[in-house]
Amino acid sequence: MKLKKSTVNAIISYAIVIAAFLICQWMIATKNMPRTLKGQMIPICVYIVMAVSLNLVVGISGELSLGHAGFMSIGAFSGAIASTYFLNALGLESAIVRLVLSILVGGAFAGVFGVLIGIPVLRLRGDYLAIVTLAFGEIIRNVVNCLYFSVDGMRLHVSFNNPNLPGSIIVNGPAGSKGIKAISTLPVGFVLILFTLFVVLNLVNSRSGRAIMASRDNRIAAEAMGINVTKYKMMAFVTSAVLAGMAGALYGLNFSTFTAAKFKFDTSILVLVFVVLGGIGNIWGSIIAAALLTVLPELLRAFADYRMLIYAIVLILVMLATNNPIIRSLFNGLIRRNRADQAKAGKGGDAQ
């Protein structure tokens, strides 16, 4: 039996992720991993999932989204509420079961909002679409700042701008979620990465994926071929929202507290930076860029006050270097394979 090339590539991808996981686990077990890095492992997993899922919209579907952190926010808050509810109301003690269920809840809620937001958003094109996603991201943040949730026995209470709820508060308006147990674990983080890769690679290599890319490359031609462009764009957008929601739940449950302010425009932009830096449409590029750029500000701590300034300079220089024709041709000369990649990246680059 001969496997398809895409299947082989996918298997290699999963193998690399599993190998990376085993290396990390080994380093942690043998105490070879610095504490600072260990503390960042789960956020790295989260940002990888965020970047890969945003790449589905920006790279594969070709629409610029500036509100991805909004879905992360919905996932984080619904996941945190679910986790506390399962523990307090349903008495579900097992942390791992709660974590997995909460991630699913986070993904489901983000998916619902993905549909609601996708319907108006996907009527628009280009920068208009981008600005509407930005607007939704900001609306989500502003509204969450006014929401209060509490659990009282089996009942879940919610109020707008009124903290006087019966029972114990879970989400406390601007103070964010509180009293949640930090239950996220690294294995679940890696499983989420594998799941994301599985979903995205399968989607990309499926009939639907080809339809999505055809709509990106030439909308009119795709429509002429009988492809329902809105339907396929919606598919990519909602899948991406679900994955971002799951990442959000993993993120939220990694901390004992987090606030809505975390999921502002800056975070959406940060994830976009991962995607663009890793190469638009290039899944592995997103993964590596997300991991490295999450670690980078921590590595720069030795620079003290100049840390964020240097981070900015590195970001600019990397963008200039990776787009410099001389450096590009240099690499192209060294590795021939890259030519194909570049053609791909060039196409994805028309995302706007």
């Binding site: 976009l272 930076v273 100049y306 300034l309 994805g348």
Partner: protein, 294 residues
């Protein structure tokens, strides 16, 4: 009724600041097809320079504004030359990310240079306020100055792009770079010029923003920057009158929304109105719908 009038005037005043910032966004977008996210931070730099000129060098406000304009123009040209020009052939998203890098850079450089302690911006224009309806309606001199500046800039820019050779060159480049080049227009210089004008406007916007809302910090420019970007898209990005109308409407909606609906929801209302408008006018208020061809 007086209350409504007052909110309307406040809205127009706030909107005028957005409009001037939005002009910078829209001009750069029109010509370079890039979202210059560092624009809001150029505003902040302009305000800091004007602040230093007035508070430390005791220059008169008008000189301080001119100095800020010169400095921001230079800054705009340098940013364009060092960070954006090398990416002229690259994907537009790559330039967007560089712009974000520049934005981080400016904010953190400002933090190192001017410190984190907020600066209280001096009033640039101290003529008494106008009082109407027996003191019920007070219009401050800053409000009047902002609205007048806005009108002057709008007329100036329309004349510049419509009547002058350089302005026509700018329009030609924004229409079709290749064809403009063939007609003997120096595209790079025209783009630099656009950045220069946009940045000079940013300096003016910075001074107006901070004299109406007198707090200056390294992050002062970011939120007005995002709002102005929204305003530019609202009006139809690339269109000068669009940016003006978009900015003013955004300001008015923001103030009226807070006054009559809720202050708790903050900017959520503004963004909700924006979404609704874009659903009915998918290319913004004055934007040209782009016909796609096969």
């Amino acid at each position: 009724m007086v209350a409504f009038l007052r909110f309307l005037i406040n809205g127009i005043s706030l909107g005028s600041v957005y409009a001037i910032i939005a002009l910078g966004y829209t001009m750069v977008y029109g010509i370079a097809k890039m979202l210059n996210f560092a624009h809001g931070d150029v505003i902040m730099v302009g305000a800091y320079i004007a602040f230093c000129a007035m508070a430390y060098l005791s220059l008169p406000p008008i000189l301080a504004v001119l100095l800020a304009m010169v400095a921001c123009t230079a800054l705009g040209i340098v940013i364009e030359g060092l960070a954006y020009r090398p990416l002229r052939q690259a994907a537009s998203l790559a330039v967007l990310i560089t712009a974000i890098g520049v934005s981080y850079f400016l904010q953190n450089a400002a933090l190192l240079i001017w410190g984190a302690n907020p600066k209280s911006f001096p009033s640039v224009f101290s003529v008494g306020a106008i009082r109407l309806f027996e003191g019920e309606l007070v219009i401050s001199s800053e409000t009047i100055l902002t609205i007048i500046s806005n009108i002057v800039i709008m007329i100036g820019l329309t004349l510049f792009t419509g009547r002058t050779k350089l302005g026509k060159a700018m329009r030609a480049v924004s229409e079709d770079k290749g064809a403009a080049e063939l007609m003997g227009i120096n595209v790079n210089r025209t783009i630099s010029l656009t950045f220069a004008i946009g940045s000079a406007l940013a300096a003016v916007a910075g001074v107006l923003l901070c004299s109406t809302y007198p707090i200056l910090m390294p992050t002062t420019g970011s939120m007005p920057g995002i709002k102005a970007f929204t305003a530019a898209v609202f009006g139809g990005i690339g269109s000068i009158p669009g940016a003006m109308i978009g900015g003013i409407l955004l300001g008015v909606i923001e103030i009226l929304g807070k006054a009559y609906i809720s202050t708790e929801l903050g900017d959520a209302l503004v963004f909700a109105v924006l979404i609704i408008v874009l659903l009915f006018k998918p290319a913004g208020l004055l934007g040209r719908p782009v016909r796609e061809k096969v």
